[in-house]
Symmetry: C2
Subunit: 307 residues, 2 copies
């Protein structure tokens, strides 16, 4: 992305590791305030929603929102709402994917999955309610209506059958088959990539419209696409290379369930190399985008993570 | 509602029965165009979503949208989008409620339920994707952003744990118990009433803001509340009095599942009398609202329906 002269980003006062911790705290506080109270009726449903969102997760999507918000000088409240919305959608997808009729998993973020800790009906409803909550938190803000509508459009498309839900359906149908790399890539661009890309774009949409030129938007989309696919390749690598304790979810599930992955199709070495090429593509895409230092850090974070 | 002088509604050119048929056709054509194509990948998911929405249902919520749209002289496209959104949410809730971990039902709208016709994973995903599609169809319109945001806010609240999802959770917890009438009413106002009320308000929000005064909005909300509760009482009556063939869904399920209902708590006669009082309340609420003839017809339709 070289359509504007590279803007000089100011030096970042806070080291990346500390920024991640601060963002995590900021996100958790916002989620604590926003999610329905655990002691309000229906208590069990509210407890399950809070269980699914709080106390865990790498918060990659909120981090992408906050980092992209820097690019357009986003207001704190708008950014928090975008981060909550995208993470609520992510959390609901995990709750439903873990259920017996889908991946049937019992461990997530180092804790029993929602249907194990509560029950299947509560897990289904908690997922449903989290999706509603995602759109509610965007619609309830004091943001200009045009910004609200744009954020919701981005999230709805990423969550639809053209995005996350569609990718999950293709994933289910692929179990036991041997797709081509192109087919696997398409599936993951939908299942995981669409929401990660949306996180980046929603962060940028949370800020000043005048700073989000068509060119910057295009660059951020390319960055989001590359990071989204890299994230999934690393996920596949970690499923093979890391332990259940490190991941906080059951390791080795892909092979056990005969799920085609980048590792099973390409081998670990080629998959690792591909993730590094995608990191380079992501960085190149935002080369001329101002105030993108955190996005650059996050490209490394996504590719080099150990869990 | 007597805060404005009663406006004289123009005589309606089309009889009510014909209007219902025309609205049904209009809705089905809009849904056909809007839902993802059945032959697009992921085909099975798209087929399940279309199966859940098309070819069936009384379309009470779309009818309420169209009727309330008359009050504010709503544009056709805006009204269609509101009708689609609210019916997609209703359809997703039926798909999920019918699943084995919830009500475990095999018949809906005279057809096998989605998880029976397809499978549980596809049913869960189809419900998830229909919810996303509901917000997408609102966000994708060419409506003014303020109108889009208001419609989405209404739908998100009605779908949340303060509305439909919360009511369903309370309903599940109430199986085998004997709640008070007040508790049962609260549950149904959330589970069924919130979305019916939202349908009325979203129809009105689809039109000219200048015609939706605070007073008219209040009146329509009261109408929606009364109609929403009456709808559920009649549902409980029909579960006892009508046959499976008439209903297109399994009759007698409430008693079989030991679900508390208005009929089990009050008896059929008192329940019927209450539904008639609610109809009168609904009509009184919109007494001074102009162009509300279809809403008046619908109050009768909801209370006197046989399926």
């Amino acid at each position: 992305m070289t359509c504007t002269a590279a803007l000089k980003s100011p030096p970042l006062a806070v080291p990346f590791d500390q920024w991640i911790l601060e963002c995590g705290t900021r996100f958790d506080e916002a989620a604590q305030r926003t999610l329905p109270c655990a002691d309000a009726v229906p208590t069990r449903l509210h407890q399950a929603m809070r269980y699914a969102v709080l106390d865990g997760g790498k918060r990659v999507r909120p981090l992408l929102v906050y980092a992209a918000g820097d690019v357009t000088d986003a207001e704190s409240d708008a950014c928090d709402r975008a981060a909550l919305a995208v993470e609520f959608v992510h959390a609901y997808s995990l709750v439903h994917d873990d259920m017996p009729c889908m991946d049937n998993d019992v461990l997530r973020r180092g804790k029993p999955t929602v249907h194990v800790e509560f029950d299947e009906a509560t897990a289904m409803l908690a997922g449903d309610a989290l999706q509603a909550e995602a759109f509610k938190v965007l619609a309830d803000g004091a943001l200009p209506a045009s910004q609200t509508a744009a954020l919701i459009r981005e999230l709805a498309h990423a969550s639809s059958t053209a995005g996350m839900c569609g990718g999950q359906a293709i994933d289910l149908a692929a179990v036991g088959t041997t797709p081509t790399i192109a087919e696997l890539e398409r599936m993951h661009r939908m299942k995981t990539g669409a929401l990660l890309r949306a996180a980046v774009l929603m962060g940028a949409l949370s800020g000043r419209a005048s700073l989000l030129t068509e060119c910057t938007r295009e660059a951020l989309g390319q960055y989001g696409d590359a990071i989204g696919l890299a994230f999934q390749i690393v996920d596949d690598l970690l499923d093979v290379e890391a332990s259940t304790a490190e991941l906080g979810k059951t390791a080795g599930k892909d092979a056990e369930q005969h799920k085609p992955t980048y590792v099973s199709l390409l081998g670990a070495q080629a998959a690792r190399a591909w993730s590094l090429r995608l990191r380079a593509q992501a960085l190149q895409a935002i080369d001329g985008v101002g105030n993108s230092a955190r996005l650059r850090d996050l490209a490394d974070f996504v590719v080099c993570r150990k869990s």
